[in-house]
Protein backbone atom coordinates (compact mmCIF):
# COMPACT_ATOMS: atom_id res chain seq x y z
CA UNK A 1 0.00 0.00 0.00
CA UNK A 2 2.80 2.33 0.95
CA UNK A 3 4.40 1.58 -2.36
CA UNK A 4 1.33 2.58 -4.30
CA UNK A 5 1.27 5.86 -2.45
CA UNK A 6 4.92 6.42 -3.23
CA UNK A 7 4.39 5.78 -6.91
CA UNK A 8 1.41 8.10 -7.08
CA UNK A 9 3.16 10.82 -5.18
CA UNK A 10 5.99 10.99 -7.64
CA UNK A 11 4.16 12.26 -10.71
CA UNK A 12 2.22 14.64 -8.47
CA UNK A 13 5.46 16.14 -7.19
CA UNK A 14 6.87 16.31 -10.70
CA UNK A 15 3.87 18.18 -11.97
CA UNK A 16 3.97 20.54 -9.00
CA UNK A 17 7.62 21.24 -9.69
CA UNK A 18 6.95 21.94 -13.32
CA UNK A 19 3.85 24.00 -13.07
CA UNK A 20 3.71 25.75 -9.69
CA UNK A 21 4.49 29.41 -9.94
CA UNK A 22 5.43 29.18 -13.55
CA UNK A 23 2.56 31.23 -14.85
CA UNK A 24 2.07 28.54 -17.49
CA UNK A 25 4.88 30.07 -19.48
CA UNK A 26 5.53 27.32 -22.00
CA UNK A 27 8.06 29.23 -24.01
CA UNK A 28 10.75 29.82 -21.42
CA UNK A 29 10.08 28.85 -17.82
CA UNK A 30 8.61 25.41 -18.39
CA UNK A 31 11.26 24.17 -20.84
CA UNK A 32 13.95 25.28 -18.38
CA UNK A 33 12.18 23.39 -15.67
CA UNK A 34 11.90 20.36 -17.89
CA UNK A 35 15.66 20.32 -18.24
CA UNK A 36 16.02 20.53 -14.49
CA UNK A 37 13.45 17.81 -14.06
CA UNK A 38 15.47 15.68 -16.42
CA UNK A 39 18.60 16.30 -14.38
CA UNK A 40 16.72 15.42 -11.20
CA UNK A 41 15.40 12.18 -12.63
CA UNK A 42 18.74 11.06 -14.05
CA UNK A 43 20.69 12.03 -10.93
CA UNK A 44 18.09 10.44 -8.68
CA UNK A 45 18.30 7.16 -10.54
CA UNK A 46 22.11 7.27 -10.42
CA UNK A 47 22.23 7.89 -6.68
CA UNK A 48 19.61 5.27 -5.90
CA UNK A 49 21.13 2.54 -8.02
CA UNK A 50 24.73 3.18 -7.02
CA UNK A 51 23.94 3.32 -3.31
CA UNK A 52 21.80 0.19 -3.16
CA UNK A 53 24.18 -1.86 -5.29
CA UNK A 54 27.20 -0.67 -3.30
CA UNK A 55 25.51 -1.64 -0.05
CA UNK A 56 24.71 -5.07 -1.44
CA UNK A 57 28.32 -5.58 -2.46
CA UNK A 58 29.75 -4.27 0.80
CA UNK A 59 27.26 -6.21 2.89
CA UNK A 60 26.03 -3.42 5.11
CA UNK A 61 23.59 -0.53 5.10
CA UNK A 62 25.90 2.22 6.09
CA UNK A 63 28.49 2.71 3.37
CA UNK A 64 27.78 4.38 0.06
CA UNK A 65 30.01 5.46 -2.83
CA UNK A 66 29.69 9.10 -1.88
CA UNK A 67 31.00 8.42 1.61
CA UNK A 68 33.77 6.18 0.33
CA UNK A 69 35.45 9.06 -1.43
CA UNK A 70 34.14 8.88 -5.00
CA UNK A 71 32.78 12.40 -4.90
CA UNK A 72 35.89 13.72 -3.18
CA UNK A 73 38.06 12.33 -5.94
CA UNK A 74 35.79 13.72 -8.63
CA UNK A 75 35.95 17.24 -7.18
CA UNK A 76 39.71 17.03 -6.74
CA UNK A 77 40.03 15.97 -10.34
CA UNK A 78 37.94 18.88 -11.56
CA UNK A 79 40.07 21.26 -9.53
CA UNK A 80 43.26 19.78 -10.96
CA UNK A 81 41.89 20.11 -14.49
CA UNK A 82 41.11 23.75 -13.94
CA UNK A 83 44.55 24.27 -12.45
CA UNK A 84 46.44 22.66 -15.32
CA UNK A 85 44.37 23.81 -18.23
CA UNK A 86 42.63 26.91 -16.91
CA UNK A 87 39.09 27.83 -17.81
CA UNK A 88 40.10 26.97 -21.31
CA UNK A 89 39.91 23.38 -20.17
CA UNK A 90 36.17 23.54 -20.30
CA UNK A 91 36.25 24.68 -23.88
CA UNK A 92 39.11 22.36 -24.79
CA UNK A 93 37.62 19.20 -23.50
CA UNK A 94 34.04 20.05 -24.01
CA UNK A 95 31.50 18.71 -21.60
CA UNK A 96 31.70 15.26 -23.20
CA UNK A 97 35.45 15.02 -22.94
CA UNK A 98 35.33 16.04 -19.32
CA UNK A 99 32.63 13.49 -18.65
CA UNK A 100 34.59 10.71 -20.34
CA UNK A 101 37.73 11.52 -18.38
CA UNK A 102 35.77 11.64 -15.15
CA UNK A 103 34.20 8.28 -15.86
CA UNK A 104 37.62 6.83 -16.54
CA UNK A 105 38.86 8.20 -13.23
CA UNK A 106 35.89 6.80 -11.34
CA UNK A 107 36.46 3.42 -12.97
CA UNK A 108 40.03 3.49 -11.74
CA UNK A 109 38.94 4.29 -8.22
CA UNK A 110 36.33 1.56 -8.42
CA UNK A 111 38.99 -0.91 -9.38
CA UNK A 112 41.11 0.13 -6.39
CA UNK A 113 38.21 -0.13 -3.95
CA UNK A 114 37.08 -3.43 -5.40
CA UNK A 115 40.49 -4.99 -4.88
CA UNK A 116 40.26 -3.97 -1.26
CA UNK A 117 36.70 -5.17 -0.82
CA UNK A 118 37.69 -8.48 -2.32
CA UNK A 119 40.63 -8.79 0.00
CA UNK A 120 38.98 -7.56 3.18
CA UNK A 121 35.84 -9.51 2.62
CA UNK A 122 33.12 -7.98 4.70
CA UNK A 123 35.73 -6.73 7.13
CA UNK A 124 35.21 -4.03 9.67
CA UNK A 125 32.52 -1.81 8.22
CA UNK A 126 33.12 1.07 10.52
CA UNK A 127 36.80 1.15 9.82
CA UNK A 128 36.01 1.51 6.12
CA UNK A 129 33.46 4.17 6.98
CA UNK A 130 35.93 6.16 9.05
CA UNK A 131 38.51 5.82 6.30
CA UNK A 132 35.99 7.04 3.77
CA UNK A 133 34.92 10.03 5.85
CA UNK A 134 38.47 11.11 6.62
CA UNK A 135 39.56 10.52 3.04
CA UNK A 136 36.73 12.75 1.84
CA UNK A 137 37.84 15.45 4.29
CA UNK A 138 41.48 15.20 3.19
CA UNK A 139 40.54 15.29 -0.48
CA UNK A 140 38.43 18.32 0.34
CA UNK A 141 41.41 20.13 1.82
CA UNK A 142 43.54 19.23 -1.20
CA UNK A 143 40.82 20.59 -3.45
CA UNK A 144 40.64 23.78 -1.43
CA UNK A 145 44.40 24.10 -1.65
CA UNK A 146 44.26 23.86 -5.42
CA UNK A 147 41.47 26.38 -5.46
CA UNK A 148 43.84 28.79 -3.74
CA UNK A 149 46.19 28.68 -6.68
CA UNK A 150 43.54 29.38 -9.28
CA UNK A 151 42.39 32.75 -10.46
CA UNK A 152 39.15 34.26 -9.10
CA UNK A 153 37.20 33.36 -12.23
CA UNK A 154 38.27 29.77 -12.09
CA UNK A 155 37.73 29.77 -8.36
CA UNK A 156 34.05 30.59 -8.64
CA UNK A 157 33.56 27.78 -11.13
CA UNK A 158 35.13 25.33 -8.75
CA UNK A 159 33.15 26.68 -5.83
CA UNK A 160 29.88 26.09 -7.56
CA UNK A 161 30.86 22.51 -8.41
CA UNK A 162 31.00 21.72 -4.72
CA UNK A 163 27.30 22.14 -4.05
CA UNK A 164 24.26 20.19 -5.09
CA UNK A 165 22.34 22.21 -7.61
CA UNK A 166 20.00 21.42 -10.47
CA UNK A 167 20.66 24.58 -12.37
CA UNK A 168 24.01 23.70 -13.84
CA UNK A 169 23.02 20.99 -16.25
CA UNK A 170 22.81 21.82 -19.93
CA UNK A 171 20.09 20.18 -22.03
CA UNK A 172 22.60 18.28 -24.15
CA UNK A 173 24.36 17.01 -21.06
CA UNK A 174 21.10 15.84 -19.55
CA UNK A 175 20.21 14.04 -22.75
CA UNK A 176 23.47 12.16 -23.11
CA UNK A 177 23.60 11.34 -19.42
CA UNK A 178 20.06 10.11 -19.60
CA UNK A 179 20.89 7.76 -22.45
CA UNK A 180 23.95 6.45 -20.66
CA UNK A 181 22.08 5.91 -17.42
CA UNK A 182 19.23 4.23 -19.26
CA UNK A 183 21.71 1.73 -20.69
CA UNK A 184 23.19 1.09 -17.25
CA UNK A 185 19.75 0.74 -15.70
CA UNK A 186 18.86 -1.85 -18.31
CA UNK A 187 21.97 -3.86 -17.47
CA UNK A 188 21.11 -3.65 -13.79
CA UNK A 189 17.51 -4.65 -14.38
CA UNK A 190 18.63 -7.77 -16.18
CA UNK A 191 20.90 -8.75 -13.32
CA UNK A 192 18.74 -8.25 -10.23
CA UNK A 193 18.81 -11.97 -9.45
CA UNK A 194 22.59 -11.89 -9.45
CA UNK A 195 22.47 -9.03 -7.01
CA UNK A 196 20.17 -11.01 -4.74
CA UNK A 197 22.74 -13.81 -4.61
CA UNK A 198 25.62 -11.40 -4.12
CA UNK A 199 23.80 -10.07 -1.08
CA UNK A 200 24.32 -13.44 0.60
CA UNK A 201 28.05 -12.88 0.79
CA UNK A 202 31.13 -13.99 -1.06
CA UNK A 203 31.32 -17.53 0.18
CA UNK A 204 27.67 -18.26 -0.29
CA UNK A 205 27.66 -16.73 -3.77
CA UNK A 206 30.57 -18.87 -4.91
CA UNK A 207 28.94 -21.93 -3.39
CA UNK A 208 25.87 -21.18 -5.51
CA UNK A 209 27.99 -21.11 -8.64
CA UNK A 210 28.48 -17.38 -9.19
CA UNK A 211 31.77 -15.99 -10.51
CA UNK A 212 32.07 -13.62 -7.59
CA UNK A 213 35.15 -11.73 -8.74
CA UNK A 214 33.76 -10.99 -12.18
CA UNK A 215 30.35 -9.94 -10.91
CA UNK A 216 31.94 -7.67 -8.34
CA UNK A 217 34.09 -5.97 -10.97
CA UNK A 218 31.15 -5.44 -13.27
CA UNK A 219 28.95 -3.98 -10.57
CA UNK A 220 31.72 -1.68 -9.32
CA UNK A 221 32.25 -0.46 -12.89
CA UNK A 222 28.55 0.33 -13.20
CA UNK A 223 28.68 2.16 -9.88
CA UNK A 224 31.61 4.23 -11.12
CA UNK A 225 29.71 5.32 -14.20
CA UNK A 226 26.62 6.17 -12.18
CA UNK A 227 28.54 8.25 -9.64
CA UNK A 228 30.44 10.11 -12.36
CA UNK A 229 27.20 11.01 -14.10
CA UNK A 230 25.36 12.15 -11.01
CA UNK A 231 28.25 14.23 -9.65
CA UNK A 232 28.80 15.95 -12.97
CA UNK A 233 25.10 16.64 -13.42
CA UNK A 234 24.10 17.93 -10.00
CA UNK A 235 27.21 17.92 -7.82
CA UNK A 236 28.04 15.97 -4.66
CA UNK A 237 25.24 14.56 -2.57
CA UNK A 238 27.08 13.16 0.45
CA UNK A 239 24.71 11.24 2.72
CA UNK A 240 21.70 11.21 0.50
CA UNK A 241 22.56 7.73 -0.76
CA UNK A 242 22.38 6.23 2.73
CA UNK A 243 19.07 7.90 3.39
CA UNK A 244 17.54 6.78 0.09
CA UNK A 245 18.75 3.22 0.39
CA UNK A 246 17.54 2.72 3.96
CA UNK A 247 14.13 4.27 3.30
CA UNK A 248 13.80 2.01 0.27
CA UNK A 249 14.59 -1.07 2.37
CA UNK A 250 12.01 0.00 4.92
CA UNK A 251 9.33 0.63 2.30
CA UNK A 252 10.08 -2.44 0.22
CA UNK A 253 9.98 -4.96 3.05
CA UNK A 254 11.44 -7.46 0.66
CA UNK A 255 15.03 -8.42 0.02
CA UNK A 256 14.58 -8.65 -3.71
CA UNK A 257 16.45 -6.09 -5.71
CA UNK A 258 13.70 -6.22 -8.30
CA UNK A 259 11.52 -4.45 -5.77
CA UNK A 260 14.08 -2.36 -3.94
CA UNK A 261 15.83 -0.72 -6.88
CA UNK A 262 12.82 0.96 -8.51
CA UNK A 263 11.57 2.04 -5.11
CA UNK A 264 14.94 3.59 -4.30
CA UNK A 265 14.85 5.53 -7.57
CA UNK A 266 11.40 6.81 -6.70
CA UNK A 267 12.54 7.88 -3.22
CA UNK A 268 15.58 9.68 -4.59
CA UNK A 269 13.67 11.55 -7.27
CA UNK A 270 10.88 12.35 -4.85
CA UNK A 271 13.33 13.69 -2.32
CA UNK A 272 15.01 15.96 -4.83
CA UNK A 273 11.67 17.25 -6.05
CA UNK A 274 10.48 17.86 -2.53
CA UNK A 275 13.66 19.68 -1.59
CA UNK A 276 13.49 21.89 -4.65
CA UNK A 277 9.83 22.66 -4.04
CA UNK A 278 10.53 23.54 -0.43
CA UNK A 279 13.38 25.80 -1.40
CA UNK A 280 11.32 27.59 -4.01
CA UNK A 281 8.02 27.97 -2.26
CA UNK A 282 8.47 27.49 1.48
CA UNK A 283 11.88 28.97 2.09
CA UNK A 284 11.74 31.45 -0.77
CA UNK A 285 15.30 30.72 -1.76
CA UNK A 286 16.55 31.58 1.72
CA UNK A 287 18.22 28.20 1.68
CA UNK A 288 19.46 25.79 -0.94
CA UNK A 289 18.76 22.20 -1.93
CA UNK A 290 22.30 21.29 -0.93
CA UNK A 291 21.84 22.54 2.60
CA UNK A 292 18.41 20.97 3.06
CA UNK A 293 19.54 17.59 1.81
CA UNK A 294 22.67 17.74 3.99
CA UNK A 295 20.64 18.61 7.06
CA UNK A 296 18.03 15.91 6.68
CA UNK A 297 20.27 13.13 5.47
CA UNK A 298 23.05 13.99 7.89
CA UNK A 299 20.65 13.90 10.82
CA UNK A 300 19.23 10.61 9.60
CA UNK A 301 22.68 9.10 9.24
CA UNK A 302 23.65 10.18 12.75
CA UNK A 303 20.47 8.67 14.16
CA UNK A 304 21.16 5.48 12.22
CA UNK A 305 24.66 5.22 13.64
CA UNK A 306 23.49 5.81 17.17
CA UNK A 307 20.68 3.31 16.83
CA UNK A 308 22.74 0.48 15.37
CA UNK A 309 25.02 0.66 18.41
CA UNK A 310 28.00 -0.84 16.72
CA UNK A 311 26.33 -3.88 15.18
CA UNK A 312 26.30 -3.60 11.43
Amino acid sequence: MMRRVAWLLLPALALAFLLLGSGMDFSYVIPKRLVRLGAIVVAGVCIALSSVIFQTLAGNRVLTPAIMGYEGIYLLFQALLVLWLGTASVALLGAQGNALLSIALMLGYSWLLQRWLLREGRGDVYRLLLLGLVLTMVLGTFTQFIQLKTSPGEFSILQSLGYTSFNRAQPAQVLYSGLLVAAVALLVARGTRVLDVLALGRDQAIALGLDHGRCLRLQMALIAVLVAVSTSLVGPTAFMGVFVANIAYALARSAQHQVILPLACAVAIGMFLLAQLLVEHLFNYRTSVSILVNLVCGAYFLALMVRTRGTP
Binding site: V138, F145, L148, K149, I291, F301, L302, M305
Partner: protein
Amino acid sequence: MSRVLLPTLLLLLCGVSLMVGASQMSWSALWSASDDAWLTLTASRLPRLAALVLTGVGLSICGVILQQIVRNRFVEPATCGGLDAAKLGILVALTVLPGAGASGRMLFALVFCLLASLVYVAIIRRIRFTNLVLVPVIGLMYGSLLSAIAEFYAYRHNILQSMQGWLLGDFSRVIEGNYEIIYLILPIVVLTYLYAQRFTVLGMGEGMATSLGLNYAATAILGLVLVAVTVSATVITVGATPFVGLVVPNLVALRYGENLKRTLPIVAMCGAALLLACDILGRLLIHPYEVPIGLTAGSVGGVLFLLLILWKCK
Protein backbone atom coordinates in the same frame (compact mmCIF):
# COMPACT_ATOMS: atom_id res chain seq x y z
CA MET B 1 63.90 11.88 21.25
CA SER B 2 65.79 12.65 24.40
CA ARG B 3 65.03 15.44 26.82
CA VAL B 4 67.33 17.75 24.90
CA LEU B 5 66.46 16.96 21.31
CA LEU B 6 62.81 17.92 21.35
CA PRO B 7 63.15 21.37 22.95
CA THR B 8 66.09 22.13 20.66
CA LEU B 9 64.04 21.19 17.62
CA LEU B 10 61.24 23.38 18.89
CA LEU B 11 63.50 26.38 19.37
CA LEU B 12 64.92 25.86 15.91
CA LEU B 13 61.46 25.82 14.38
CA CYS B 14 60.57 28.98 16.29
CA GLY B 15 63.63 30.69 14.87
CA VAL B 16 62.81 29.65 11.33
CA SER B 17 59.22 30.75 11.80
CA LEU B 18 60.36 34.21 12.74
CA MET B 19 62.51 34.53 9.68
CA VAL B 20 60.10 33.28 7.05
CA GLY B 21 57.46 35.56 5.72
CA ALA B 22 56.15 37.79 2.98
CA SER B 23 58.44 40.68 3.71
CA GLN B 24 62.13 40.10 3.65
CA MET B 25 63.76 40.34 6.99
CA SER B 26 67.29 39.47 7.84
CA TRP B 27 69.18 39.30 11.07
CA SER B 28 71.45 42.07 9.93
CA ALA B 29 68.52 44.38 9.56
CA LEU B 30 67.49 43.54 13.10
CA TRP B 31 70.93 44.13 14.53
CA SER B 32 71.09 47.48 12.89
CA ALA B 33 67.84 48.24 14.68
CA SER B 34 66.01 49.20 11.53
CA ASP B 35 62.51 50.33 12.36
CA ASP B 36 60.88 48.29 9.63
CA ALA B 37 62.48 45.07 10.72
CA TRP B 38 61.50 45.57 14.34
CA LEU B 39 57.98 46.47 13.40
CA THR B 40 57.61 43.31 11.37
CA LEU B 41 59.03 41.36 14.23
CA THR B 42 56.91 42.76 17.01
CA ALA B 43 53.67 43.41 15.20
CA SER B 44 53.49 40.33 13.07
CA ARG B 45 56.13 37.66 13.54
CA LEU B 46 56.28 37.44 17.32
CA PRO B 47 52.50 37.46 17.82
CA ARG B 48 52.23 34.86 15.09
CA LEU B 49 54.85 32.71 16.79
CA ALA B 50 53.07 33.02 20.11
CA ALA B 51 49.73 32.13 18.52
CA LEU B 52 51.29 29.17 16.71
CA VAL B 53 52.91 27.71 19.78
CA LEU B 54 49.87 28.28 21.98
CA THR B 55 47.47 26.85 19.41
CA GLY B 56 49.65 23.80 18.86
CA VAL B 57 50.00 23.20 22.58
CA GLY B 58 46.36 23.97 23.33
CA LEU B 59 44.85 21.79 20.63
CA SER B 60 47.00 18.77 21.33
CA ILE B 61 46.18 19.00 25.03
CA CYS B 62 42.50 19.27 24.14
CA GLY B 63 42.89 16.09 22.17
CA VAL B 64 44.42 14.33 25.16
CA ILE B 65 41.68 15.44 27.55
CA LEU B 66 38.90 14.43 25.16
CA GLN B 67 40.53 11.06 24.55
CA GLN B 68 40.55 10.38 28.28
CA ILE B 69 36.97 11.47 28.80
CA VAL B 70 35.53 9.51 25.87
CA ARG B 71 38.10 6.69 26.27
CA ASN B 72 38.79 6.49 22.59
CA ARG B 73 41.99 7.21 20.70
CA PHE B 74 40.48 8.94 17.75
CA VAL B 75 38.57 11.72 19.46
CA GLU B 76 39.54 15.38 19.25
CA PRO B 77 37.72 18.68 18.71
CA ALA B 78 37.24 18.04 15.00
CA THR B 79 35.87 14.54 15.50
CA CYS B 80 33.48 15.24 18.35
CA GLY B 81 31.57 18.17 16.95
CA GLY B 82 33.28 20.71 19.21
CA LEU B 83 34.98 22.58 16.38
CA ASP B 84 31.81 22.78 14.31
CA ALA B 85 29.80 23.87 17.34
CA ALA B 86 32.27 26.68 18.01
CA LYS B 87 31.86 27.81 14.39
CA LEU B 88 28.11 27.77 14.79
CA GLY B 89 28.45 29.79 17.98
CA ILE B 90 30.46 32.47 16.24
CA LEU B 91 27.91 32.62 13.43
CA VAL B 92 25.08 33.06 15.87
CA ALA B 93 27.05 35.73 17.72
CA LEU B 94 27.59 37.63 14.48
CA THR B 95 23.92 37.79 13.72
CA VAL B 96 22.48 38.11 17.20
CA LEU B 97 25.03 40.55 18.62
CA PRO B 98 26.78 42.19 15.67
CA GLY B 99 28.39 44.78 17.89
CA ALA B 100 30.08 42.33 20.20
CA GLY B 101 33.86 42.21 20.07
CA ALA B 102 36.09 39.17 20.01
CA SER B 103 35.37 38.32 23.64
CA GLY B 104 31.62 38.35 23.06
CA ARG B 105 31.94 36.03 20.11
CA MET B 106 34.29 33.80 22.03
CA LEU B 107 31.74 33.48 24.78
CA PHE B 108 29.14 32.29 22.30
CA ALA B 109 31.63 29.87 20.77
CA LEU B 110 32.50 28.60 24.23
CA VAL B 111 28.92 27.96 25.24
CA PHE B 112 28.05 26.21 21.98
CA CYS B 113 31.20 24.09 22.10
CA LEU B 114 30.59 23.06 25.71
CA LEU B 115 26.94 22.17 25.11
CA ALA B 116 27.78 20.21 21.96
CA SER B 117 30.54 18.28 23.76
CA LEU B 118 28.21 17.45 26.64
CA VAL B 119 25.61 16.12 24.22
CA TYR B 120 28.26 14.10 22.41
CA VAL B 121 29.61 12.57 25.62
CA ALA B 122 26.05 11.77 26.72
CA ILE B 123 25.34 10.03 23.40
CA ILE B 124 28.53 7.98 23.61
CA ARG B 125 27.92 6.97 27.20
CA ARG B 126 24.40 5.78 26.53
CA ILE B 127 25.64 3.39 23.92
CA ARG B 128 28.00 0.76 25.15
CA PHE B 129 30.37 -0.44 22.53
CA THR B 130 34.02 -1.19 22.40
CA ASN B 131 34.36 -0.52 18.71
CA LEU B 132 37.30 1.83 18.41
CA VAL B 133 36.15 3.28 15.15
CA LEU B 134 32.45 3.91 15.67
CA VAL B 135 33.00 6.65 18.25
CA PRO B 136 34.87 9.02 15.91
CA VAL B 137 32.45 8.14 13.10
CA ILE B 138 29.57 9.32 15.22
CA GLY B 139 31.62 12.37 16.16
CA LEU B 140 32.30 13.20 12.52
CA MET B 141 28.65 12.79 11.61
CA TYR B 142 27.61 14.89 14.55
CA GLY B 143 30.10 17.52 13.39
CA SER B 144 28.74 17.43 9.82
CA LEU B 145 25.25 17.85 11.15
CA LEU B 146 26.31 20.90 13.16
CA SER B 147 28.11 22.19 10.07
CA ALA B 148 24.98 21.72 8.01
CA ILE B 149 22.99 23.66 10.59
CA ALA B 150 25.65 26.38 10.50
CA GLU B 151 25.41 26.52 6.70
CA PHE B 152 21.65 26.72 6.86
CA TYR B 153 21.86 29.55 9.34
CA ALA B 154 24.56 31.37 7.38
CA TYR B 155 22.69 31.08 4.12
CA ARG B 156 19.57 32.59 5.65
CA HIS B 157 21.55 35.53 6.92
CA ASN B 158 23.61 35.86 3.79
CA ILE B 159 26.97 35.37 5.38
CA LEU B 160 27.75 32.01 3.80
CA GLN B 161 30.53 33.32 1.58
CA SER B 162 32.40 35.07 4.35
CA MET B 163 31.88 32.14 6.66
CA GLN B 164 33.83 29.89 4.34
CA GLY B 165 36.66 32.32 4.23
CA TRP B 166 37.35 33.36 7.77
CA LEU B 167 36.43 30.19 9.59
CA LEU B 168 39.27 28.27 7.98
CA GLY B 169 42.39 28.30 10.13
CA ASP B 170 44.71 31.03 9.01
CA PHE B 171 47.57 32.50 10.98
CA SER B 172 48.02 35.47 8.71
CA ARG B 173 45.19 37.11 10.59
CA VAL B 174 47.30 37.26 13.72
CA ILE B 175 48.72 40.70 14.34
CA GLU B 176 49.41 42.62 17.46
CA GLY B 177 46.28 43.89 19.11
CA ASN B 178 44.14 41.27 17.48
CA TYR B 179 45.17 38.04 19.04
CA GLU B 180 45.68 38.46 22.75
CA ILE B 181 42.71 36.26 23.56
CA ILE B 182 44.82 33.25 22.72
CA TYR B 183 46.87 33.78 25.87
CA LEU B 184 43.90 32.27 27.69
CA ILE B 185 45.38 28.94 26.70
CA LEU B 186 48.31 29.43 29.09
CA PRO B 187 46.39 28.96 32.36
CA ILE B 188 44.57 26.02 30.81
CA VAL B 189 47.82 24.31 29.97
CA VAL B 190 49.08 24.83 33.51
CA LEU B 191 45.84 23.55 35.01
CA THR B 192 45.86 20.48 32.77
CA TYR B 193 49.40 19.67 33.79
CA LEU B 194 48.49 19.96 37.46
CA TYR B 195 45.53 17.69 36.87
CA ALA B 196 47.37 15.27 34.59
CA GLN B 197 47.02 12.33 36.97
CA ARG B 198 43.33 12.95 37.39
CA PHE B 199 42.77 12.89 33.68
CA THR B 200 44.65 9.63 33.35
CA VAL B 201 42.50 8.12 36.08
CA LEU B 202 39.47 9.46 34.22
CA GLY B 203 40.60 7.49 31.20
CA MET B 204 40.43 4.28 33.19
CA GLY B 205 36.69 4.37 33.20
CA GLU B 206 34.09 5.37 35.72
CA GLY B 207 34.33 2.22 37.80
CA MET B 208 38.04 2.42 38.35
CA ALA B 209 38.05 6.16 38.81
CA THR B 210 35.44 5.95 41.55
CA SER B 211 37.33 3.12 43.19
CA LEU B 212 40.41 5.33 43.26
CA GLY B 213 38.46 8.15 44.80
CA LEU B 214 38.02 10.48 41.84
CA ASN B 215 34.79 12.40 41.37
CA TYR B 216 34.23 11.22 37.82
CA ALA B 217 31.45 13.55 36.72
CA ALA B 218 33.06 16.69 38.12
CA THR B 219 36.43 15.94 36.57
CA ALA B 220 34.89 15.10 33.20
CA ILE B 221 32.93 18.32 33.13
CA LEU B 222 36.01 20.28 34.14
CA GLY B 223 37.87 18.65 31.27
CA LEU B 224 35.12 19.59 28.83
CA VAL B 225 35.15 23.19 30.03
CA LEU B 226 38.91 23.40 29.53
CA VAL B 227 38.51 21.99 26.05
CA ALA B 228 35.71 24.40 25.20
CA VAL B 229 37.72 27.42 26.30
CA THR B 230 40.75 26.34 24.29
CA VAL B 231 38.79 25.50 21.16
CA SER B 232 36.83 28.72 21.21
CA ALA B 233 39.97 30.80 21.84
CA THR B 234 41.76 29.21 18.89
CA VAL B 235 38.78 29.40 16.55
CA ILE B 236 38.27 33.09 17.32
CA THR B 237 41.92 33.98 16.87
CA VAL B 238 43.01 31.63 14.15
CA GLY B 239 40.13 29.62 12.79
CA ALA B 240 39.51 25.91 12.54
CA THR B 241 42.61 23.72 12.71
CA PRO B 242 41.61 20.08 12.52
CA PHE B 243 43.45 16.86 13.35
CA VAL B 244 46.29 18.29 15.42
CA GLY B 245 44.66 17.17 18.65
CA LEU B 246 44.22 13.68 17.28
CA VAL B 247 47.45 12.90 15.55
CA VAL B 248 49.92 14.27 18.09
CA PRO B 249 48.69 12.45 21.23
CA ASN B 250 48.43 9.18 19.30
CA LEU B 251 51.93 9.37 17.91
CA VAL B 252 53.37 10.34 21.29
CA ALA B 253 51.48 7.51 23.02
CA LEU B 254 52.97 4.99 20.62
CA ARG B 255 56.45 5.89 21.74
CA TYR B 256 56.01 7.11 25.32
CA GLY B 257 52.81 5.59 26.63
CA GLU B 258 49.90 7.39 28.21
CA ASN B 259 50.98 8.31 31.70
CA LEU B 260 50.00 11.93 31.34
CA LYS B 261 52.22 13.17 34.11
CA ARG B 262 55.15 12.12 32.01
CA THR B 263 53.88 12.56 28.48
CA LEU B 264 51.90 15.81 28.65
CA PRO B 265 54.96 18.06 28.15
CA ILE B 266 56.04 15.90 25.22
CA VAL B 267 52.57 16.08 23.68
CA ALA B 268 52.53 19.84 24.11
CA MET B 269 55.92 20.31 22.51
CA CYS B 270 55.17 17.98 19.63
CA GLY B 271 51.89 19.78 19.00
CA ALA B 272 53.66 23.12 18.81
CA ALA B 273 56.38 21.64 16.60
CA LEU B 274 53.88 20.10 14.20
CA LEU B 275 51.95 23.32 13.83
CA LEU B 276 55.13 25.34 13.36
CA ALA B 277 56.31 22.94 10.68
CA CYS B 278 52.97 23.07 8.88
CA ASP B 279 52.94 26.85 9.06
CA ILE B 280 56.46 27.20 7.71
CA LEU B 281 55.55 24.81 4.91
CA GLY B 282 52.45 26.83 4.16
CA ARG B 283 54.42 30.03 3.97
CA LEU B 284 57.08 28.58 1.71
CA LEU B 285 54.99 26.57 -0.74
CA ILE B 286 53.56 29.48 -2.68
CA HIS B 287 55.80 32.25 -1.43
CA PRO B 288 55.01 35.16 -1.06
CA TYR B 289 51.45 34.01 -0.64
CA GLU B 290 50.64 31.51 2.03
CA VAL B 291 48.53 28.44 2.39
CA PRO B 292 46.20 28.73 5.39
CA ILE B 293 47.10 26.48 8.31
CA GLY B 294 43.64 24.95 8.13
CA LEU B 295 44.64 23.39 4.83
CA THR B 296 48.20 22.34 5.66
CA ALA B 297 47.31 20.95 9.08
CA GLY B 298 44.17 19.42 7.59
CA SER B 299 46.11 17.66 4.84
CA VAL B 300 49.12 16.56 6.89
CA GLY B 301 47.00 15.67 9.87
CA GLY B 302 44.41 13.98 7.70
CA VAL B 303 46.97 11.79 5.96
CA LEU B 304 48.56 10.87 9.29
CA PHE B 305 45.11 10.04 10.65
CA LEU B 306 44.45 7.77 7.67
CA LEU B 307 47.72 5.99 8.30
CA LEU B 308 46.86 5.63 11.99
CA ILE B 309 43.49 4.09 11.15
CA LEU B 310 45.06 1.67 8.72
CA TRP B 311 47.70 0.68 11.18
CA LYS B 312 45.79 0.68 14.43
CA CYS B 313 42.88 -1.45 13.38
CA LYS B 314 44.71 -4.45 12.11
